[in-house]
């Protein structure tokens, strides 16, 4: 599996911070989503209690995941769907390629699916000569730009309206040139004119799934544009691609989780469209696909079951952790270098592509705890990032200089009798050097600090030294 550019996280971040256009795009959208979540949460008194219920539903499902997967497969097959289990990304791609091949497909429409990004589906289908069309507006935008999503629910959050307008005018040459493209609704209408034809021409429609319901064999998608419904109901063949942790036992459980999902994601009470699909078109149905396939991907997730990292599988992909993350909102999603950015990506990515490649991600957190505070599934994201740091440290993969510094510091911190005399000495020197200005503009070995900010100088002596004098009756 490709590791993307995660190993170059630091360079990615630096480039992102210097990208004025990106910074403009980031400055409003994510904080706006955070504010809307806050309003929605305030309007629902039982919101916090619902988070506990949601967590419990997911914990229960994960504890019996094998049974629920089996139950789901049985129900879905009984409803006429084909259920495929894919152990790896490659397995999933091969299954989907074969379905497209058997359907004689030429055009494939797609609803938004992060799992399809995870398995690199578009490139593989295009290599087979298929025309693949993303139908979610954000996904469509990044597809025409040859980019990847930078946010799991707002894939084009890194773009400004100017960029979108310019791309449309460049590519939609057969549409009127004098049309106004400022408001989101105008941009949607513009994309719709192109996409309508694609929906009608598509042979296969591929969507993700927000939930798979075990008791009914149903896949559920939530969207705001309705594109997912057209993607899954117009073509002859519908493929729903979902990872194993999307399983939920009952319809009742889904209704609970849906109350959390949209509020956490966009601050809506519920998304504009919430669609439940069970099997292909039945005799008498006015529409729907002739064949319905559900591809369930593992790709390393089952190895997390029963480990400290199992909790990350509770995620319902709302993106709230990103919108509230000081790191994500500073650098955007592409800097993380792989499919899932932000705090959830910092925990999930090392599990999927390995700590050697994704090591920066769980390290690049201030542990401010806002992600855990807003997570509707109460995933202890900072704690799980720390877990990865522990794995890295145990494996001896912490960067050498950092490790040595930590060792030297630890040798002192564990020995107060050694620590305090040395601290006195060091602080006396540092305080002497900094006395005139009160802060250092530069200091050897502190370049990481002083590159962007001054280092306040110590006041004079250590507190322990002053306290000893004070207790001995020396006036301060």
């Amino acid at each position: 599996m490709s590791v993307g550019t995660s190993p170059a996280f630091k360079d990615n971040a630096r480039a992102a911070l210097g990208d004025a256009q990106l910074q403009r795009a980031l400055s409003s959208v994510a904080p706006g989503l955070a504010a809307r979540r806050s309003t929605a949460r305030a309007a629902l008194p039982e919101f916090e209690a619902l988070r506990d219920v949601g967590r419990d539903i997911k914990d229960h499902t994960l504890a019996y995941l094998d049974l629920y997967l089996e139950a789901f497969a049985n129900k879905a097959r009984a409803a006429g769907s084909h259920v495929h289990f894919a152990a790896t990304a490659e397995d999933a791609r091969e299954i989907i390629r074969a379905i497209c091949r058997d359907a004689g497909a030429r055009v494939v429409t797609k609803g938004k699916s992060m799992v399809s990004e995870e398995i690199g589906l578009n490139a593989c289908l295009e290599a087979d000569g298929l025309e693949v069309v993303e139908t979610d507006l954000g996904e469509y935008l990044i597809q025409i730009r040859g980019e990847t999503p930078s946010h799991i629910i707002a894939p084009a959050i890194h773009l400004t309206q100017d960029q979108v307008e310019a791309d449309f005018r460049r590519l939609h040459t057969d549409l009127p040139k004098d049309r106004v493209l400022i408001e989101p609704t105008q941009l949607v209408s513009e994309a719709r004119e192109i996409l309508r034809g694609k929906f009608l021409a598509a042979d296969v429609g591929i969507t993700g799934a927000n939930f798979l319901i075990a008791e009914t064999g149903t896949s559920v998608i939530v969207t705001n544009e309705g594109n997912g419904d057209l993607t899954q109901s117009l073509p002859k063949v519908h493929i729903a691609l979902a990872s194993i942790e999307k399983l939920v036992p009952t319809l009742e459980d889904v209704s609970t989780l849906i109350r959390l999902l949209a509020r956490s994601a966009t601050g809506q009470e519920i998304s504009t469209y919430t669609t439940f699909s069970t099997g292909p078109r039945r005799p008498g149905d006015p529409d729907g696909p002739e064949a319905c396939h559900i591809v369930i991907l593992d790709n390393g997730r089952s190895e997390l079951l029963g480990t400290a990292l199992q909790e990350v599988l509770r995620c319902i992909r709302c993106g709230a952790c990103m919108n509230h993350c000081p790191v994500y909102t500073a650098i955007g999603g592409h800097a993380y270098g792989w499919v899932y950015p932000g705090p959830i990506g910092a925990v999930l990515t090392p599990a999927l592509i390995g700590m050697r490649s994704a090591g920066h991600l769980p390290n690049a957190s201030t542990f401010c705890g806002r992600c855990e505070q807003v997570c509707p599934m109460k995933i202890p994201l900072p704690g799980l990032m720390r877990h990865w740091r522990e794995e890295e440290f145990s494996a001896g993969d912490t960067p050498v200089l950092y490790r040595l510094g930590l060792k030297a510091w630890a040798a002192l911190a564990k020995r107060p009798r050694l620590y305090h005399p040395l601290a006195r000495l060091g602080i006396a020197v540092l305080a002497g050097l900094g006395r005139r200005r009160g802060a250092f503009r530069r200091l050897p070995l502190a370049e990481g600090w002083t590159r962007h900010r001054d280092l306040p100088a110590p006041q004079s002596r250590t507190f322990q030294a002053l306290w000893a004098d004070y207790k001995a009756g020396v006036p301060r």
């Binding site: 500073a330 440290f393 911190a413 006395r435 009160g438 600090w449």
Partner: protein
């Protein structure tokens, strides 16, 4: 005074490494506030750092060693008080987790955690302090440090005590509860990202046009003071305890003497 009514208690001050090394005036401010609240304050010499640099770098063994050292140093005290939400959070929330599998130390860690408090919340929530006698003429804004806010629920207590400071006008900044970008070793491991976050913070601080910026954690304060100083700002930066205790004779953090 409600504190006196509760009787005197023996408080061990966990100084924190940053206060010990960089800003002893915060330690003395804490001692004054605690004494005024009816506490006999003791500073055990066998303390160094709370261990977060090791814990957050994945070095659990070192963090455990430091936890045991710290717990042992405070076993004779009724309370352990810490002038930092982050270090208090480490002692209170994380030591028990760290030592949970150690049959000898798990109960000691739990007993220890139960008596650990961050300074300002200890004054308000445990000692019933509702006002201080200090005076400060000027406009202040307060930054909520993350660990204190989210691990210990410190938000209203410092504001309540600041409200009792004569002459002090408290102005809320936008996103006071958003991280300043310090994050311990994060600030040094990812300096560019840390800078972007603190620059946004100082922008919010400056927008309230305060005379002074206050917070309860020296790490965050040094980060924000360092950035303001680099930006040439005139805004003073101090630990909230310094203002509450009237411990103002030293220059503000990072300020020229």
């Amino acid at each position: 005074m409600p504190a006196a009514a509760k009787g005197r208690v023996r408080v061990g001050l966990f100084v924190t490494c940053l206060v010990d090394l960089f800003r002893p005036s915060v330690g003395f401010a804490a001692v004054k506030l605690l004494s005024d609240a009816g506490c006999d304050v003791d500073v055990p010499p066998r303390q160094t750092c709370c261990g977060q640099p090791a814990y957050n770098s994945g070095d659990k063994e070192t963090a455990r060693d430091i936890a045991r050292l710290t717990i042992a140093a405070f076993e004779a005290h009724d309370y352990v008080v810490v002038p930092s939400g982050s270090c208090a959070g480490m002692l209170k929330a994380h030591y028990p987790t760290l030592l949970a599998d150690d049959p000898q130390w798990a109960p000691r860690a739990a007993a220890f955690a139960a008596k650990v408090f961050e300074l300002i919340s200890f004054l308000v929530d445990v000692r019933g302090v509702s006002e201080v006698g200090a005076e400060y003429q000027g406009r202040a804004t307060y930054h909520d440090s993350c660990s204190g806010l989210r691990e210990l629920g410190i938000q209203e207590q410092p504001r309540r005590l600041l409200g009792s400071v004569k002459g002090l006008e408290l102005v809320e900044m936008t996103d006071a509860d958003v991280c300043c970008g310090f994050g311990g070793t994060f600030a040094i491991k990812y300096p560019d990202i840390s800078n972007a976050i603190v620059a946004r913070k100082t922008e919010q601080v400056a927008a309230t046009e305060p005379d002074i910026l206050l917070a309860g954690d020296l790490g965050c304060l040094m980060n924000m003071a360092g950035k303001l100083s680099r930006q040439g700002s005139k805004i003073a930066v101090r630990h909230v305890a310094e203002v509450l205790a009237g411990e103002m004779r030293d220059p503000a953090i990072g300020a020229r003497p």
